[in-house]
Symmetry: C2
Subunit: 121 residues, 2 copies
């Protein structure tokens, strides 16, 4: 039988809202998510886990209290556990996220941008 | 301060050998690796963990005893824990791998293709 791969571009084409990650694959107790972002997210941290950002299209800046990292397509960064960060995208940007299942996108901030963390597409 | 992103293309440009994964990032107790592959790998399985393959460039077929999956750039597949598989690439293919730290590339097969599983670049 032919198994189906997960095509990231096809998955991203199925939705248009920003800051609302969708789960596309699971790896043990971790989840791979895709998300479209634009504008400024909220400052937050994840007390329990690191978080991986891989830019698939566009450009992302992740601000920290002590600096920032600028990411283009094909670049990734792991935000360490407990480090406050704020993702910012001047234009629409497509990301792959990797983190343990159950992680809430807004971390400790708990604001209006908090997304359902278990939406599979 | 400006933090440095991990540029996958730049990392891949630093080596030329096949089937020898390099670690480019850690996420909790998981590692992100990049690898260049060409030809047929050995049949093997990982008894303890799933394994994620994301194709960055080229094309990869992962053969299973009961079928296969064909992956192009921008496509990923998670090989389930315990499932025998054999990656095959007709031409040079660049992959991102994600799995827990310490996983041996040849799994239970233990052959000449076994790579050092902790080479950071």
């Amino acid at each position: 039988m032919d198994y189906r791969p997960v095509n990231l571009r096809e998955k991203l084409a199925t939705f248009d809202d920003y800051w609302a990650p969708r789960v596309v694959a699971a790896l043990n107790d971790y989840q791979v998510k895709v998300v479209k972002v634009q504008g400024e997210f909220v400052w937050h941290k994840h007390a329990e886990t690191d978080e991986l950002f891989l830019v698939l299209a566009g450009e992302l800046v992740i601000e920290f209290r002590d600096g920032q990292v600028a990411l283009s397509a094909g670049e990734l960064f792991v935000v360490p556990q407990g480090k406050e960060h704020r993702p910012v995208a001047q234009h629409e940007c497509h990301l792959l996220l990797l983190e343990p299942a159950g992680v809430v996108n807004t971390g400790d901030a708990g604001e209006a941008l908090t997304a359902d963390n278990e939406v599979w597409i």
